[in-house]
Every structure is written in structure tokens, then in C-alpha cells.
């Protein structure tokens, strides 16, 4: 498997008037070519900051990449200058956001916005760019693309705009597409269409995708692998089956048992109490401990190491330590639990690498 992205030990701080926010506190993950990795987390988990860091879109100041490497297609982009990044963005990696309106110029016709990008990136004539644009619009499922070429963003519905944004992002055929909550603001039926579109495009264009979301249904639908983020760290990562059918971290358990699904037959939703921690004063031990019903004394004192549960499954929790008591996850998680092939007999300590 070839790695298209390798993030090592990433730490990012934000300098604000209320102090320094340690938004990303040592994050490691990778993406193989052709894979979809879902990054799951809530506000304040650091998922969006991480995504924007991969595009180097964070304004520095107030943001600061304190340490770490982001190796994209073989090159570390952390030390790159903005000029160097201009060649990377759009060509190697591109991003789509939750709100398409912020990426579209409301005073320019849609077709022109895309064609302009193509002309810049591929040095083709205006005519060729127009033809390619119409092809792109067709590819993302916009009906009457030739007509729509001459329309303005406000004439498109939310779902259509999202399609346009996907078209723009894929115009230069990047190897990596980062999608930051692209369907969160969309209706369910439109969301389903956009997800289907993304899956199709991934196949035709062989793009790898990082999909950021907090919707576990979308994760189950789209992802090959999942990374769960909390308080600026990745606390569990594994294949999509491992995360849903054999999760090991109390936060993942909390997420899975606090979401009702249509077939949910449980009596009460297990809400995770409290709120995520304030990252201007990063927690000393396990960031999730204050809200976890499985917290141990050591969680309050020392940051947990990383344990490996299978070739692809890593967990950052003291609960996997041989000295830790055996615990059962909540009922909602147990109902779906199965032992997957490839699971080690005992978790193996691997330290800081996840």
C-alpha cells in the first residue's frame, strides 16, 4: 500500500488574547492511496485545524505549527513557503468545506470561476477550459451544464453549490481531497446524493479522501478507516469495522452509545456528561478522563500510551494496560460487538506512534 499522506507528531498552537490554545497535541496518522479516512470528532477536537494544516491554510499568526511533519506525496509541506504551497494546493491536495458559499465568488459566473482555475493550472486556452469545465459540471451531476455555466452562485441550491465546489476541487485532479463536513448542512436526501457522487468520483479519478465529520452514519457509509479525535489528539484509529464492531476507547463508546439510530431499541441514550476541555490549559493526563465513567487514577496523572490491537487498530488509553481492570463497554456497544479476524490476543504497547 502506497502512502499518499503521512502526518507525524503534529502539534499546532493558536495564540489568542485568552492565552495559547493547544489545538493539536501530537497527532499521527496516514492515508493510503485510494482510501477514505474519516476523522471523527466534536468541536474543539482539532479535526478542522488538522485538515487546514494539511492545506497550510492556517493564518500564521495566530496559528503556529510547533512541530511535526506533514508528508504529502513524498514531500514534507511544513517548511514550504506560501509560494511553494500555491503549486501544491489544487494540484496535489484540495479541500471542500461545509459552506460552499464561502468558497464561491457571488459576483462571478460559476463557469468562469472554474474555467479560470483550469486555465491557471493547466495552461490551456479559454475555449478548452470552457469545454473542460462543462465536462466537469456534467461529471458532478449538474443537469444542463452548458446552461448552468453562465449562472451565478445564488441561482444554485445548497446541494448544487456543493457539487460545484466538488467540481472546483477536482478540476486539477488532485491526489488528495479533504472534505471538511461537506454534508453537515445539507438535507438528508441531498446528503445521500453528494456522498454517492463522492464515492463515484473517488473511483473514477482515483482520489484519496480525508472526510471530516461528526455523523457516525456518514462514517459507516464512506470510510475505509477511521481516526477518532478528542481534545487535540487521536485517541483511537482503525478500520471502519474495527471502530464500530470492536471499539476500545471510552470516548468512542460514548459516541456510539449517545447516537440513536433508526433501529435503536435502547431505553435511554447514554449521554457523555460535561463538555470538552479548554485547550488553553491542556489536561494533564487522559483528556477524556473528567467525562469518562471508566476513568482511573492514572488517567488523571499521566497521558496514556498507545496500544496496538491489530495491524490497523490503535488505541490511546490506559484501559488496555495489562494492569488495568477488565471493563465492559456500555450495552449499546456490546450489542454490536464482535471479534474481528486479525485481532491480537493481547494489546501491544507501541508508544507515541499511532
Amino acid at each position: 500500500m502506497e502512502k499518499i499522506l503521512d502526518v507525524k507528531n503534529l502539534e499546532i498552537n493558536f495564540h489568542t488574547q485568552s492565552g495559547t490554545v493547544h489545538a493539536v497535541r501530537g497527532v499521527d496518522f496516514y492515508l493510503n492511496k485510494g482510501e477514505t479516512l474519516a476523522i471523527v470528532g466534536e468541536s474543539g477536537s482539532g479535526k478542522s485545524v488538522t485538515a487546514q494544516a494539511i492545506m497550510k491554510l492556517l493564518p500564521t499568526p495566530p496559528a503556529e505549527i510547533v512541530k511535526g511533519q506533514i508528508i504529502l506525496d513524498g514531500e514534507d509541506i511544513v517548511p514550504m513557503t506560501d509560494k511553494q504551497m500555491q503549486n501544491v494546493r489544487g494540484n496535489k491536495v484540495s479541500m471542500i468545506f461545509q459552506d460552499p458559499m464561502t468558497s464561491l465568488n457571488p459576483t462571478m459566473k460559476i463557469g468562469f470561476q472554474i474555467a479560470e482555475l483550469i486555465m491557471k493550472n493547466q495552461k490551456v486556452t479559454k475555449q478548452e477550459a470552457r469545454v473542460n469545465t462543462i465536462k466537469l459540471l456534467k461529471m458532478v451531476g449538474i443537469p444542463n451544464p452548458a446552461e448552468r455555466y453562465g449562472q451565478y452562485p445564488h441561482q444554485f441550491s445548497g446541494g448544487m453549490r456543493q457539487r460545484v465546489m466538488i467540481a472546483i476541487a477536482l478540476a486539477a485532479k488532485p491526489k488528495l481531497l479533504i472534505a471538511d463536513e461537506p454534508t453537515t448542512a445539507l438535507d438528508v436526501t441531498i446528503q445521500a446524493q453528494i456522498l454517492e457522487l463522492m464515492k463515484n468520483l473517488k473511483q473514477t479519478l482515483e482520489t484519496s479522501i480525508i472526510f471530516i465529520t461528526h455523523d457516525l452514519g456518514v462514517v459507516a457509509n464512506m470510510a475505509d478507516r477511521v481516526a477518532v479525535m478528542y481534545a487535540g489528539q487521536i485517541i483511537e484509529t482503525g478500520t471502519v469495522d474495527e471502530i464500530f464492531y470492536d471499539p476500545r476507547h471510552p470516548y468512542t463508546w460514548g459516541l456510539l452509545s449517545s447516537m440513536p439510530s433508526l433501529d435503536y431499541r435502547g431505553a435511554e441514550l447514554h449521554a457523555i456528561p460535561g463538555s470538552p476541555p479548554d485547550l488553553t490549559m491542556p489536561p494533564k493526563g487522559d483528556g477524556f478522563a473528567p467525562r469518562s465513567s471508566y476513568a482511573m487514577q492514572i488517567d488523571l496523572e499521566e497521558e496514556p500510551p498507545v496500544f496496538q490491537v491489530s495491524e490497523t487498530h490503535f488505541v490511546k488509553s490506559w484501559l488496555l494496560h495489562p494492569n488495568a481492570p477488565k471493563v465492559d463497554p456500555p450495552k449499546a456497544v456490546l450489542l454490536r460487538k464482535r471479534t474481528l479476524p486479525g485481532t491480537f490476543e493481547k494489546p501491544v504497547l507501541v508508544g507515541g506512534e499511532i
Partner: protein, 310 residues
Amino acid sequence: MPEKLLEVKHLKKYFNQGKPDMVKAIDDVTFDIYQGETLGLVGESGCGKSTTGRTIIRLYEATDGQVLYRGQDIHKIKSKKALKELNKKIQMIFQDPYASLNPRMKVADIIAEGIDIHGIAKSNKERMDRVYELLETVGLNREHANRFPHEFSGGQRQRIGIARALAVNPEFIIADEPISALDVSIQAQVVNLLKRLQKEHGLTYLFIAHDLSMVKYISDRIGVMYFGKLVELAPSDELYKNPMHPYTRSLLSSIPLPDPDAERNRKRIRYDPKSHQYMEEDQLKMREVRPGHFVYCSEKEFNQYQQNIE
């Protein structure tokens, strides 16, 4: 048989009536809400569910139709005194935790606004006691009373909004997408709080949302809206097990489940309004296909649905 608390009869709300850009936000909607139940109202953007909630509480004036609260037509009330009484009985919780609290007001004043308007507290001490009581009821600390909204997280702000609504001891609460803007793990907190409050205070809820899974969890019955019309109304489990209207079936089939195996096998059903092939003479109305299960359809479709059950 619990009594009917709210009766919505042929409610219509049209915006820009008579102009070319007229919008029929609510187009002849009828349903009842019984004392003590939670009625869920779902649909996608533009279906009119939020407008319905706001028209019921009279933030908007109805274009036509009636909203009866305990038999009294809300939109016909003229006296300020009577309106104030109604304000105490029906309350609302809003969607946006950032826009639903006045950023310049202290939390204590926000929560106590209803108390202040209706003169419920006789002294400052009584007022503050009630505020502290409400804060604790919603799971916040007393010391939060002196802080400002921007110091709180989304979930905490929603709880402040709930405390504000509870301050006047309402009977009926309309929750307009109260959890849509919240993080996943926080949604469960707020929903559990609402359920607990319902039990403790005997509240009746109209729960408006677009997340069908959450609505199904909290509601006794669910109404599905599509472009200003109510297309299906049934008990929650029944709606999920036997959806009949093609839009409902399309909606249910589009929802991704947090289960990879299920997702690999899920087949989405698309909805095409033209598939009904309605004729001019078709009479479209809500018909009871099964006990308590209503579907908006023509006579022909009604017969079809009944046959499908057998």
C-alpha cells in the same frame, strides 16, 4: 384517553401573498397534540416545519385556519392580558445557541426575563432563588448566573434557553430544532434533559427537527412534512416499520446508519412527486390507513395502501 391540548386545523401560512414570489410555507395542515405526548415534526429544508412551530406560538400570524389551545383560538385573542396568559402556557426553545441568547445580558437576567415580564417573583431574593433552581434543574452551576452567554459552550447555552422557557411554568413547549446546531455527544445530553423535564413537569412537546433518528427516539408520534403539507402522521415505531407515503420511504432510506454492514447493503429509494400521477378530480387528504396512521393521498392510493397491508 388524554385530552387534546393543541388542535391545528387547516392551517395556512403564505408569505408575500398575491405577489409573484409568494411562498406557501404551510399549506393546509391539520393535526392534534395530546396532553403529555411528544409529537415530532420532521422534513427537509423548505417543508414548513419551523414555520408551523412559529405560527402556532403566534410569532407569525396565520393566513388561514385555526390553532386551538385548550379549545381557544389563539389567533383570535385580542386582549393583551389574555395574550400574556398564553405566553406563560406555551413556550419555545430555539435552534441557534449562539443567536438565541442576548449577548449583552447576564445569564441570570436572561433566565429571569419571563419572571420579570409577568411579575412572578415578589422580591429580588425570590427571583434569584428561582434562577438558581432553574440553573440546577438544567444541570448548570449557580455561579453561572453572573456570566455572559459567550463564556458557555453550545450545549450549555441550549440549557440556558431551556431554563428560560421553564421559568414561566409552561404546559406546552415547542422545540424548534433544539439540537441541530450541537455536537453529537451533547445532543444526547439535551435530549435526555428534555425527556426528564417532561416526566417531572408533565410537559407536552412539539419537537421539530430534521434528524429522523433523534426525533424517533424522543417522540411518541411523528408527522412528516413536505413542501408545506403533512404527508404522513403515525406513532414513531409504526412510521419506521411501515412507512407508506413514498416521500417518507425515500427519506427513511436515505439516512445512513452507524453500522458498516447495514450501510453496505442499504438501497436508497428516490422520490419523484410526479410518480403519484394525480388527476384533477383526485381528492387529496389525510386518510387513516391503519389505526392512528394517517397518509396524505388520493382515494386510489388509499385503497392501494390498504391492500399492501393485507
